[in-house]
Structure formats: C-alpha cells, structure tokens
C-alpha cells in the first residue's frame, strides 16, 4: 500500500524526519508511537503534502504511484486520508456541503459521475451511524462549536464517507473519554477491510486495546527505531520512552 524509504524532511531549515523507513500493506493496521516532538505529526503532514515541509531525500511509493509527485488534493483523491490531530473549523460551511464537494471532486478525478443528492444523504445516514454522530452535527458548520470529542468523531465520519485506501489517524484518541474512544475505535474497526490500511499515531497504548495493530513502531528523533507487535506498546507503557533512548544510545 505504502512504502516509505529513507525519508528526510525539514521545516524552516530544521530537519525533523531523518531517514524514516516504513512499509504498510493492504489489510494491515500499524501503530506509530513515540514521545512528544519525535516527528509523528510531521510524518502525517509530509504524507499529506503540506507545503511548509521540504522533503530533502527519500521516496514514497503509494500503491504504485510516486506520492511525492502529487499535489495535496491529488494525494487525497488517490485515497490518502489524514485524520487531523487538531481539526480546523470552517465557519458557515456545512459538514454536508463540505463532504459532498470533497466526494464529488474525488469522483471527478476518478472519472465517475457526481453523486445524487438522494444517494449522498443515504450515505450520510449510514456513515454517521458508524461513529454515532448526531445527524444534527452533520448539517452544522464543519467543526464549528464542536467539542473535542465531536471533532475527532467527525474526522472518522469523514473517513467513512470518503473511503480512503490509507488512513493516517494523528492522535485521534487524545482528549477522548472512554466511551468516545470506544466509539471511534469501533468506527475504525468497522471500516477496516483487506483493501485498505490504517496508520494509527498515538502515544498512549490505551487506544490499542480497541484497535488491535498488526505492528507497533517507535518513532524517535525522526526515525523508526523499533518495530514489534502489540506487546511492544505495553512494554513502552510500562517502561516509558527513556528506555528507548537508552537502548538506542547503548
């Protein structure tokens, strides 16, 4: 699905990603953990094509295409989705209108016909149920006045609507109470198939009790320094990131 090799990226001349390697195959869920400031959100932004970041070396193959050659919107249209750590508010633009515009742009890119209003509304009803999102929120302005938990649920709702090949969830669990966490995790699990893949960025292993990862990676100082299974997450929780630091420095 995605193969990242020797990725170097910097912002304002400061190198943040320093030779990152990661491969995710269809049907897999990967967790990326790591201390604050390790570069997790940077990785998500670079994948999505945020202009502020400069990729200085490395390659990213996304299902056979060179991801780095694509514009931000074309990456999304090719099936890359980013659930933001801090979803922005867009006053006056309803969620519904926003999603219909997005969906139609993706469809047009793929040479498909525009979605009919009826079909679209049926889809909204079905998908909002997955994350138990109040249908009223679907017609409110994008994230405007949403609580922290509602914003995160709205991200997963959008993911459900856009049906990406690869979803990157950046700290989707932060700020969620246990019920909301369960709902979000349940949504992600429902959307999982052998055709798509998910990268879950988190620094609590709590989420991984609900979304069971196939692999757990530790991102530290701009590199993946350790890869394991769910047990690695438990170990990290127990020993903290200093343990990683010591084992690398050693």
């Amino acid at each position: 699905m995605i193969k990242i090799e020797n990725l170097h990226a910097s912002i304002d001349g400061k190198e943040i990603l320093k030779g990152l390697n990661l491969e995710v195959k269809a049907g897999e869920i990967h967790a990326i953990m790591g201390p604050n400031g390790a570069g997790k959100s940077t990785l998500a932004s670079v994948l999505a094509g945020r202009e502020d970041y400069e990729v200085t070396a490395g390659s990213i193959d996304f299902d056979g295409t060179d991801l780095l050659e694509l514009s931000t919107e074309d990456r999304a249209r090719e099936g890359l989705f980013l659930a933001f750590q801090y979803p922005v508010e867009i006053p006056g633009v309803s969620n519904i209108n926003f999603l219909r515009t997005a969906l139609n742009e993706i469809r047009e890119y793929k040479g498909q016909a525009q979605i009919s209003a009826k079909e679209f509304m049926a889809m909204v009803r079905e998908k909002s149920a997955i994350v138990e999102l109040d249908s009223k929120l679907a017609s409110r302005a994008v994230n405007e006045g949403f609580s922290g938990g509602e914003k995160k649920r709205n991200e997963i709702f959008q993911m459900a609507m856009l049906e990406p090949k690869l979803a990157v969830l950046d700290e989707t669990d932060s700020g969620l109470d246990i019920d909301a966490l369960r709902i979000v995790a349940n949504g992600v699990n429902t959307l999982k198939s052998d055709q798509n893949a998910t990268i879950v960025i988190t620094h609590y292993q709590r989420l991984l009790d609900y979304i069971i990862p196939d692999f757990v990676h530790v991102l530290y100082d701009g590199r993946i320094v350790m890869t394991g299974t769910k047990e690695l997450a438990l170990e990290l929780e127990e020993k903290g990131y200093d343990w990683i630091k010591e084992s690398i420095d050693a």
Partner: protein, 482 residues
C-alpha cells in the same frame, strides 16, 4: 453552494477575464458631450417631459454647479471630467416594443450573452424583467399580471408620462437634490431607470428585477429608481449589473429611493458586477451611488448587496427609521481584487421609538485592493429604546491588500442599545490545507471558505441571485490567495 455544479464553476473560471466584456453595435442617439443648461433642456425635450420636471432638473443643475466633488480618504482615482461625458444615449429606435418579437435581434443577442434570455427568465423564474439598456427600457414583461394587482413596474420615463402625480410626489423625497454632489448631478441629468409602486395591502407575488447595462462608449449612466410600497404591502426588488469592457473609466451615479409606508416591507437586493478594470487597474467603472430608504411605522427595509465589480465604488445604502417600530437592515459582501477600491457601508438613522437596525458587513480584500467599511448609526433624541446590532468582518486574501473599518456611532438617547462587533482575519492556511486534504482543489476550497464566511449575507438573497453571487465571488477571487 449546493446550487451550482462544478462544470458550471469550471466554465466560469475559464473565462474569468471579464466575461461580459463586449460592445453591442446598435445605432445610438447621443447628445453632444458636455454639461450645461441647453444639454439638460435637450434631454428633457427628447424625453417629452412635463415642465415641472425640466424645472426640477435645472434647479438641481444650479445646485450641483455650486458643489464640489467629495474627497475620500481611502479612495483614489482620476476624477471624471464632467464636460467630457455625453449625458444622453438612447438606442436609435423610437418605436416601443409591444411584444418580445419586436425587439431588435441584436439587442436580443446582447441579452443572450448576458445570460438573461427573456424567454428563459420569464418561463423559469417568474421574474418580471425591466431591461434597461443605455438608459432606455426596451422591454417590460409581466406587466399584465402585475397590472391586475395594481402594481406599477415600469421605466422611470414611462412613470413620468403615465403616473406623473406619483413621481412628482415621491421623487426626491428621500434623496433630495441637495443631498450630495452625485445625487445633485443625477437629479439634473438622469435619463431613465425604474419605477415601482405597490398598492395598499398587496404582496407582490414575484421578484421584480432590473438589469442595468452600460453600452455606448463614454456615456455616463444616471439612473433613478423609485420604489414606493404603500401601507401593508410587500415587494422584493432585484438589481443586477454587468458592463462591457472599456479602456476609459465610466461614471455611474445612480439614485435609488425607497419608501415603505406603515407596515410595508421592501427587500432590495443587488448583485453588482460592473467592469472592475484589468489586472493593472486600467479601465473599469466608477460607481457613485446614493441609495436610501424611508420607513414609516412598523415598516421594514432590507438592503442586501454583493459587490464584486467597479474600479471605484462609493456606496452607502441607508435607512431612515422615521416611524415607531420600524426596522432597517443592511447585509453586504464587498469583494475587491487587483487594484479595486471600495468604500461602502450604511447609515441607519433612528428617529422613531423602538426602531431596530441590523448591519452585517463582510469585506473580502484580495490582490492589492483596498476595502473600506464606513457605517453610521445615529440614534436621535426621540428614538427611545432604539436598538442596533452591527457586525463588520474583514477577510484578507493576501498580505498586500487592505481592510479598513470606520464605524461611527452617534447616540443622543440613553435608552438605546447598541452592539458592535468587528473581526479581521486572513484566509487560513490551515483551513485550505484541511479542504485540500479532503480532495478539494485550492480554488474550490477558497470559494467554499469565502461563501461560508459570507453565508449570513448570501442567505438573504433570493435563490437565483444567491447562486449567481456565489459564482461571482468565485470568479472575482480566482487565484487570489497569497
């Protein structure tokens, strides 16, 4: 947003170079350039006007001669040479059109280019269009249906001929000729415009719509619009503008007067799209307009405007809240791009008790443009328990443009309640990135964000107009984020 399709928008974006920039080659009947009493007599004679109107014009002219053109801190332009303008230009066709078939084919072609084919308009929208081309109305539709209700909707010239008592009574009653430089000029040389009268208790069943258009080169356009809503009546009036592409600046100085009697309501909507000048700031229309409404008790006047055109815009639709419990509203979106300058706003004059006004102004500045909001809320002594709410937001698309807000409040009654909110924001990189990460192109993302920002205003427009306004916003802001 839901109203327009992507292919439509894409098409619009393709010909973003002013799409109505063409000149119709119809023989015009133009008076010599310059302005003096003889010219005014000639205009009046050509229009076969009654003596009182000629006197009115001459008086206005003598007042105008004594006035000086106002200076505005935030608007800079080459002042028009008033002696280099031809003050009258009518398509050389004295015959009045009895039916649509009689209309000059070339004129029809013009309308088609404007996208307002009469047949379509009539069939699809039920809008009665009084099409003003070069100051003379060439077609009036739906007259019969309106006639049954006693609604009068005709060109100003026709009103002068057929309803002189109404015109004489109300013309200049809200915007006197002494009001300002441009209003005085208009009163002296106006050539045509629209007149509308809604009788007592009648709810006008359709939107009344007028399309204005400047055609012959070098002809200034001086329209007058007079809307009189008698007691308990209601009317929604639409004004839309397009103008052909020109090299020299063209002056436009209209006067619009609204009269809402007891319990009457007038909704006046404008989508203004005069030629703004090219990317270097050359050409374009100078738009100096005086718009004012007078409310008797329990009456309501709403001005809604979406301004995207003109090189220079100077415009303050205002309400005089004379009657107790009357309501004035002003909803405005003003977009400036490239070298455009807009100085717009409103005046709410509270005279009656329990009068209420609402001002929602959304300014969007792009390129190197300057966008100013100038508003006055005046609560007079007798206006007990008056209320005003004002919200003035500015959105900046680049670092080179400017937004200025000048809210003036004069309050002479302690029982008044006045609220004012203002914000300035730059279009958010984060918002754009968020949209684009969902597969939305940058252009469409801008249009989405801007339309969201203007929603409170766009919601006030009738459906068809709202769609048009959204397209205009998208066109005028194409490629404007910096």
């Amino acid at each position: 947003m839901a109203g327009y399709t992507e292919s439509e928008l894409a098409k619009d974006l393709e010909n973003q170079e002013y799409k109505f920039g063409f000149v119709t080659d119809i023989e015009s009947d133009t008076v010599p350039i310059g302005l003096n009493e003889d010219i005014i007599r000639l205009i009046s004679e050509k229009k076969e006007e009654p003596e009182w109107l000629l006197e009115y014009r001459l008086k206005a002219f003598s007042i105008w001669k004594e006035m000086t053109e106002p200076e505005w801190a935030h608007v800079h332009y080459q002042k028009p040479d008033f002696q280099a303008i031809a003050y009258y230009s009518a398509p050389k066709q004295t015959k009045k059109y009895e039916s649509w078939d009689d209309v000059d084919p070339e004129m029809k072609e013009t309308m088609k280019k404007l996208g307002i084919s009469m047949e379509e308009q009539q069939r699809l929208t039920g809008v009665a269009v009084d099409f003003v081309m070069d100051s003379v109305s060439v077609a009036t539709s739906f007259k019969e249906k309106l006639g049954e209700l006693g609604v009068i909707f005709c060109s100003f010239s026709d009103a002068v001929q057929n309803h002189p008592e109404l015109v004489r009574k109300y013309m200049g009653s809200v915007v006197p000729m002494t009001d300002n430089f441009y209003a005085a000029l208009n009163a002296a040389v106006f050539t045509d415009g629209s007149f509308c009268y809604i009788p007592k208790g009648v709810r006008c069943p359709m939107e009344l719509s007028t399309y204005f258009r400047i055609n012959a080169g070098g002809t200034g356009q001086f329209e007058r619009t007079l809307v009189v809503a008698d007691e308990g009546s209601y009317v929604s009036y639409l004004e839309g503008c397009t103008a052909p592409q020109r090299d020299e600046n063209q002056l436009h100085a209209a006067v619009v007067e609204l009269i809402a009697m007891d319990h009457a309501e007038i909704k006046y909507s404008t989508v203004q799209n005069w030629y703004p000048g090219d990317k270097e700031g050359k050409g374009g229309i100078f738009n100096f307009v005086t718009k004012r409404g007078m409310c008797d008790s329990h009456a309501k006047i709403s001005w809604t405007q979406v301004e995207t055109g003109s090189a220079v815009t100077w415009k303050y639709p205002s309400c005089i809240l004379k009657g107790d419990y009357s309501i004035g509203e002003f909803y405005s979106v003003a977009v400036t791009n490239n070298y455009q300058q807009a100085d717009t706003g409103t005046k709410m004059i509270h005279l009656g008790k329990h009068t209420k006004s609402t001002i929602i102004s959304k300014g969007i500045s792009a390129g190197k443009s300057q966008n100013s909001y100038r508003g006055l809320v005046q609560i007079n002594k007798g206006a007990h328990h008056a209320r005003n709410f004002s919200q003035c937001d500015s959105l900046l698309m680049t670092d080179e443009c400017g937004a200025h807000t000048f809210p003036y409040i004069e309050c002479k009654n302690p029982t008044a309640k006045i609220e004012h909110e203002a914000t300035t924001s730059k279009i958010g990189e984060d918002q754009l990135f968020y949209c684009m990460q969902r597969g939305i192109s940058e252009e469409k993302a801008i249009s989405l964000i801007v339309n969201g920002y203007c929603k409170e205003v766009l919601n006030q427009l009738p459906m068809e107009f709202a769609v048009e306004a959204q397209k205009l916003l998208a066109i005028s802001l194409e490629g404007s984020v910096g």
